[in-house]
């Protein structure tokens, strides 16, 4: 009997020791399907940073990097979560789409596995079931409120129109935007929904022009925004209207699609740009991209940087959590990222800070404007929206 017990203990210990040699970093997102233009670069960022971390021996264990295509399908996201969290005990889950992330909120809360989405929808970290969801950067809502603040500084009482994606991703910031506009003395003349099949926006733009809307804020993806900009140029509205947008509207993707119609577009994002080569994070992006022989378009995409940020946060949290990497230790590592222990991989315009109550990572953002060459140049310093705290107090 004693021998049997000793053997059991030995097997348990040896399997425990084996488990400590490896851990898995998994990302589930859209490499194909809707929004895969952003998803494929994001996936490359996650994968490459993970490989880089292994090469640099950032952790005492070997990281297995898994990048799963969930095709923007919520059921596939859930299956991936169950497979990796339930069966393989992965200590942290990197997710993607708004719908999928909203759907797994309850399961994330139940399993207590920290989860970092690529969607910056504020509802993901709103109560209930918000204990283990962490946004890597500032939310779409804060992006839009910051843009409204910029408008209010330029022109008090200005008329603003919102063009949003017909989805929870697009619609959610509208409530906060309305509240902020009221406080800022701005008038929201219209909220229009535009999806990815907007081939002709003449009627939309003429309607907004007739309403006297001078500032058009987009909460969408780059494709539909590019079509709007091209139509605005054709109609001679680019000088009369100032087009703006939240994180997923801008960057290289927009200038590539819209060409010179993207000129003067004002964009809110927390990330540094590819052409800011003096930033250590961008130097790292270029180095890793070249090391793993990524195409120039992929490396230049802000989504490649976003994927790297998500992976770097997860790996840093693993490192900080202690010798044994578990969901609890990753949570501990994540929530230690504040004050003097804030994490700054250099990808964003401010450090990544988390605590038990603070679930927004890089809270700072900048407004950038596209120049004639298609590059986005910062027109503000790193900042936080003052109004956002008032219209959407985070619990």
């Amino acid at each position: 009997m004693n021998k049997l017990l000793a053997l059991t203990a030995l097997v348990t210990l040896s399997s425990f020791a084996t488990a400590q040699k490896n851990t898995t970093l998994v990302w589930s997102g859209a490499i194909t399907g809707p929004t895969s233009d952003a998803g494929s670069s994001y996936a490359a960022g996650v994968e490459d940073y993970c490989r880089y971390a292994n090469a640099q021996k950032m952790l005492s264990v070997t990281l297995t990097c898994v990048v799963r295509d969930d095709q923007y399908n919520n059921a596939n996201t859930q299956r991936n979560f169950e497979e990796f969290v339930g069966n393989q005990n992965v200590p942290v889950f990197l997710g993607y789409a708004t719908g999928g992330m909203l759907q797994i909120k309850g399961v994330v809360q139940e399993t207590k596995v920290p989860t970092l989405p690529a969607s910056y929808h504020i509802g993901i970290i709103d109560p209930p079931n918000n204990g283990y969801m962490f946004l890597p950067v500032s939310s779409y809502s804060e992006n839009i409120v910051a843009l409204l603040e910029w408008v209010a500084n330029k022109e008090r009482g200005a008329k603003v129109a919102l063009i949003v994606n017909p989805s929870p991703f697009g619609r959610d910031p509208v409530v906060d935007a309305r509240k902020a506009a009221e406080r800022l003395g701005l008038k929201i003349t219209d909220v229009q929904e535009v999806g990815g099949n907007n081939l002709d926006n003449t009627a939309l733009l003429k309607r907004l022009e007739a309403q006297g809307a001078k500032y058009i804020i987009n909460q969408n993806t780059a494709g539909p925004v590019a079509n709007i900009l091209k139509d605005a140029k054709r109609l001679g509205l680019l000088g009369k209207m100032q087009f703006m947008g939240a994180h997923y509207t801008g960057g290289e993707d927009l200038t590539k699609l819209a060409g010179d119609a993207a000129k003067d577009f004002v964009w809110a994002t927390s990330y540094y740009m590819y052409d800011e080569g003096d930033q250590p994070g961008i130097q790292l992006v270029k180095k890793i991209g070249a090391q793993f022989e990524r195409k120039a378009d992929t490396i230049r995409s802000v989504h490649y940087t976003s994927g790297m940020l998500a992976a770097s946060i997860a790996i840093e949290a693993m490192k900080r959590g202690g010798k044994t990497i578990t969901a609890a230790s990753v949570y501990k590592g994540l929530t230690s990222m504040n004050g003097s222990r804030a994490f700054n991989p250099g990808f964003t315009v401010g450090p990544v800070t988390f605590s038990a109550k603070d679930h927004v990572g890089a809270e700072n953002l900048r407004l950038l404007q596209a120049d004639a060459t298609g590059n986005f140049k910062a027109i503000t310093g790193a900042q936080r929206s003052k109004m956002f705290q008032l219209v959407h107090p985070l619990k």
Partner: protein, 357 residues
């Protein structure tokens, strides 16, 4: 009378009563019992993640059964089945969260909501046929998505979390989720399958088939084609509503993206691949499509790891949608009667095997 109660090598039916039996032989009854027993034991044999796929197959099978009622048996093309599922899902979610109804009342309520909306949406079928009716149901799909996206009570398409279910003291949790729901979905699927099998034996079931084959001839025989069409829409969308309610609980939240046009197309593909107008096809179609998707997912992951494709081509991940499209085209070209026909051929072979004449 058949030569044997256990086997049947020919058609020995001489009375209408015999023609209306669900099971032609004792072997069929026995095989159903054995099949159900095997299904009951399945969760003990399958890994957890595979069980999730089985649950998805069963939920889709309920929806495809409904689609077969309208499209397969009555010939009314329906491209909005996912929207009917969505009606059921949202109705179930509202019943569970606003009215605090338990799941065993909320899910049937979802079915009733689906049936009511389905009957209303079926009204154009009184005047429209074929492609025109397809467009009408497609319109409903689009209207449904738009409507949900604009209604604050439905979270504008965002997530409505479902309450946790408890049955006989066993609570649905992350660890037992798939097994828990397997034992709840299975009886619903078997029950609804048997119900439809019984409806088919009634004058309603026969009138559906008559309307599908030739509605003018059906009218000449005294069948009211309009009533038959609306009844078919009502039953078909009831099944979809039930599937939506089950899906809502199984996914733990209702999100509009799950009930979009792509899901409707997927359900239609399942019905085609399984075999339109066939009961076994309603199970085989979802099984094939979900298994194909799973297999292609694994294959693409393996291919991706081989680094044989140039960067940016994403040939590996394109395998899944490619296989999906290709399977529909190939089935339409080479086996329009679907997998149900293969099932029929296998059964036919064993009827004669081993050469008992």
């Amino acid at each position: 009378m058949p030569a044997s109660r256990f086997t049947q090598t020919g058609n020995y039916r001489v009375r209408y009563q015999q023609d209306q039996t669900i099971f032609a032989t004792s072997a069929e009854q026995a095989s159903l019992i054995v099949g159900v027993l095997l299904l009951l034991a399945l969760p003990l044999l399958l890994p957890k993640t595979l069980l999730r796929d089985v649950n998805m197959i069963m939920i889709f099978a309920v929806a495809v059964l409904g689609l077969n009622v309208t499209t397969g048996y009555t010939g009314l093309i329906n491209i909005g089945q996912a929207a009917f599922m969505g009606v059921g899902a949202y109705a179930t979610a509202l019943a569970a969260t606003r009215l605090n109804l338990p799941f065993f009342l909320a899910i049937p309520l979802g079915g009733v909501a689906g049936a009511l909306v389905g009957t209303f949406v079926g009204l154009p079928s009184l005047r429209l046929k074929y492609l025109y009716l397809a467009v009408a149901t497609l319109a409903f799909q689009i209207i449904f998505e738009w409507l949900v996206g604009h209604l604050p009570v439905l979270a504008q398409g965002g997530a409505i979390s479902m309450p946790t279910v408890q049955v006989f003291g066993i609570r649905d949790s992350f660890l037992n989720h798939n097994r828990f729901w397997y034992y709840l979905i299975l009886p619903v699927l078997v029950g609804l399958g048997l119900l439809w099998r019984n409806v088919l034996r009634t004058r309603h079931g026969r009138s559906f088939i008559a309307v599908r084959d030739n509605d003018r001839a059906a009218a000449a025989m005294g069948i009211h084609p309009g009533r038959a069409k609306l009844t078919a829409f009502m039953i078909g969308s009831f099944y979809a509503g039930i599937a939506g309610g089950l899906f809502a609980y199984f996914q733990k939240a209702v999100v509009i993206e799950d009930y979009g046009l792509h899901t409707s197309v997927q359900l239609l593909a399942m019905a085609i691949v399984g075999g339109l107008g066939s009961l076994p096809g309603s199970f085989l179609g979802p099984l094939f499509i979900v298994a194909l998707d799973r297999f292609m997912g694994n294959a693409s992951e393996w291919l991706g790891a081989q680094n044989i494709f140039p960067q940016g081509v994403d040939a590996a991940t394109a395998l899944r949608p490619l296989a999906f499209g290709l399977s529909i085209v190939l089935f339409l070209m080479f086996e329009p009667r679907g997998l149900a026909n293969w099932w029929r051929l296998v059964r036919l072979y064993f009827k004669k095997w081993p050469y008992k004449f």
